[in-house]
Every structure is written in C-alpha cells, then in structure tokens.
Symmetry: C2
Subunit: 251 residues, 2 copies
C-alpha cells in the first residue's frame, strides 16, 4: 500500500537478490478497509516511494487506479473461510476478503514466480499462503522477518498516526511479546495462561487497550494451550485510536 518503510525495503532487497525481474505494486486497496476505517487518511507518499524504488533499482512499479482494479459493478471475491473470521478478521469484517481478492488479481496481472510478504501481518501471510495453495496459484510466498525501530516497535505505515506520547507507549506491545519470548526461551515456560498473564500486565501497565493477545496454532489461528513448533503469539493494541499489531512466531 505504499508509504514505504524499511520493512517494505527488506522485501524488495530480498526479491532483488533472488529474482531476475522485480516488480513492486503500490495500491491502497479500498476493499480491505471497513466503513469508518482509515482508507481516506491512510498515508500516501507516491513521490517519496518512487525515489526509494529508483534507488533500489527495481524493474517495474505497478500503480493502478482504483477504477482500473474495481470497474463498475465489480463483484468477484476470493474468500478464505474460518481463518479470515478470527482476530484481525473478526475486528475488521471483510478485511481479508479484500486482501485476498486484490492479491489474487495482482498475481494474475504480474504473474510473479515469488512474492514477498512481511511476518508483521502474520494472519495475512498465513491466509495468502492458504489461498495460493488451495487455488493452485503458481507462486511461491516468502515471509520476511518484521523490521523494528531501535526500541522494538514493529515498523508500520500506521505508526505515523501516533502522537509523541502514543509513540512512547507503543513499545509496550513489543516489550510484552519479548518478555513472553524470554520466558519461553530462558525459563522453558510454554503454558499459554502463564505467558499471557505476564504479557498482558506489561501492556495494561501503560493503560493501553488490548484488542487481543493470544497464543495460536499458525495453520488455523486457533488458540492453543502450549507454545510448540508452528505456534505464535499475536497481539493487537489500540493507542490514540490507532490499531497496532505485532507477533512472535515459532516456525
């Protein structure tokens, strides 16, 4: 969706390393925003983005108009059941249907061999992998590590919405996840209840609203009782009415 930051650039650099031709798409997709969400005010900085992409030396920048992507009477949708209806999907109904449809369209237009997504949006990444597998789309999906500010905050175009005060508070989500990670790694605590109790404390200490904080099975995003392979801790908080998400994954 543009407003490029180091997270996007890490995807681009990996693609440049692995692929012969490199295409970047920038499209603020109305179909993945709900009523009352931030579609209108979502940060757009196409000129700065173009400078960055020129520096990275990509081959093609694809910037379609809304009308090109959604013609009059548009009505064909790709939906991944169940996993699209929990967490982000529960709080943002229709969001993942909008994501899957535009990503499916871009795959048909661009026909990439590989496509790069950030692990920051873990649920999106897993849903896209499921869509690609189940619709037999001939593309390899590559998930790339979340890029963070020095204090740990996951990079996101939406971070620019935060007040200076909110920006300081915002690290609590990372701190919470990091604390739970330490408890797993150094203290071998794998019990969900114990981990989440500790994790929630760290966020609530900052008086930040938790949308969710949960240990889930990565393949279906169902809550699990223990950290294992293929589980993750996912979290979403609200600061200054800005939603921030982050996660740690045990792949």
């Amino acid at each position: 969706m543009g407003a490029l930051h180091q997270g996007h650039i890490s995807l681009i650099k990996k693609s440049m390393e692995e692929c012969q031709y490199n295409v970047v798409s920038i499209f603020v997709n109305p179909a993945q925003f709900g009523p009352g969400e931030d579609y209108e005010k979502y940060p757009r900085s196409i000129e700065a983005d173009i400078k960055i992409l020129q520096k990275e030396n990509i081959d093609i920048l694809f910037v379609p108009t809304t009308e090109e992507m959604y013609q009059k009477n548009f009505g064909t949708w790709i939906n991944v059941e169940k996993i699209s209806e929990v967490f982000e999907g529960k709080l943002r109904p229709g969001h993942f249907c909008g994501v899957c449809t535009i990503v499916g369209k871009f795959f048909n237009i661009i026909q990439p061999d590989k496509s790069y997504f950030g692990w920051k949006d873990a649920q999106q990444l897993i849903i896209i992998k499921k869509m690609v597998k189940e619709l037999n789309i001939p593309v390899k999906i590559i998930g790339m590590t979340t890029i963070r500010d020095k204090d740990g905050l996951a990079l996101s175009s939406r971070n620019t919405y935060l007040s200076p005060e909110g920006r300081k508070k915002a690290t609590c989500l990372y701190k919470s996840l990091h604390k739970m990670w330490e408890m797993v790694i150094y203290n071998s605590i794998t019990d969900t209840e114990i981990l989440l109790e500790e994790g929630k404390k760290i966020i609530l200490k900052e008086s930040v609203k938790i949308d969710y904080l949960e240990v889930i099975n990565l393949s279906n995003f169902k809550p699990v009782k223990k950290i294992e392979k293929q589980t993750g801790i996912i979290g979403a908080v609200r600061i200054d009415n800005v939603r921030l998400i982050d996660n740690i994954i045990w792949e």
Copy 2:
C-alpha cells in the same frame, strides 16, 4: 465433468483447430452439487471418454481425484456476487461458487490461453467470463453453440436420466424457445410478456413443470421487458425429477 457427448466434442474440435496444445479436464466437482442433488449418480464413463479423446488426438487429459482438488480443511472460494444468486444459482445455492472455484483452480493448474465452454449453460458461461475479467485471469473464454439432438433437445449428460416417455416430453423446452425465436424473427414481436405467455403454453401443454422461463439481460441476468441485443431467453424445466435447461441468445 465427463460423460462426453457431441457438445463437449464440439469444444474439443474448436480447441484443436485454434490451439497448439490441447488439454481436456474431466472432474465431477462435488463443490458444485448441493445436498440431495445428483453428485453420486452423475454419469461417469471415463473409459469411453478416454477412447473419444484418443480419437480426437488431444494432448493432455487431466483427471484429478477429489482429494487432490479438495485437500483436508479446504476453504478458499471464488464467488461472483449477484448474478450467481439468480435462476440456477437461486435453485442451486452455492452451485456457481463451486463452479468458479474449480474453474479458477483449473486455470491456475493448466494455464490455458483459451478455454471453451458451451452456451447451453449460459449463466455459467457469463459468470465465468465475469470472474476472468474481474480477477484478471489471463485466459480467453470462448462460448460455443449448443449442440442438439435431431428433435432439438440440447445435449446434456443428464439426458440419460430421462425415461423414454420423459425423453419425448423433453423437447417441449426447445419447442417453446424456438417458437419464441420465430415470433421475434418473423413477427418482430419483442415484448417479453407476449413471448413468455406463448412459450409457457407450449411447455405446460405437456404437463411439464417450469422452474423458470425468462427474458434476461445477458450481462447481469436481470429480467428485461424487451428482446434486444445482449438479451437471452433462458428456461429450466423438470421432467421425471430431472432438471433440463436451455436458452436462446441474442448476442
């Protein structure tokens, strides 16, 4: 779905004429049958089909298993709104979602330049054209004229379900459509109400149940008051509890 007849063979011959490599898929798709429909008893004749395809000299026959197409926990669906919910879609809820999903999967697997569908299933053809356009699938959809028995009955694998008595009655749908076509062509009658009144009489004379008989706009399948370019007359009847569909199209 196999049980090949001259309608399918006309698609294959056209493809052989126009294309360098020719692929035929045969798959009785469970996702497009509703509960209580004829999935189990749908005619299957893969050995006879193979003989026909060998004679036609096609390059590849693609016959996946149900498990290959729908793996455990399958849940990704392509849906074309609105036009999937009327006529066949209203009588068979979920039918076109099953059709679009399997056709989308086959397009991704086979990656054809052109794909051939019969006009007999007019609503299916229009929905697939809309899906291809709106999802930017790089394939050209070609609609081929309905092939008929000598008495006019549109060929369909489901015709084998008919009793000898039912088979005789079954021509009433074609006779009705043909009569309306004559009224348009020879008498310049384009008024829907007049045409349908005459058309329904011909079917009801045989005591055959009409599921629907309607003049529709081909792009959205909404009923229209006059025959024009891009309209069609579509009909569905029930004989011996077998559903038969047919249509005439003004392209």
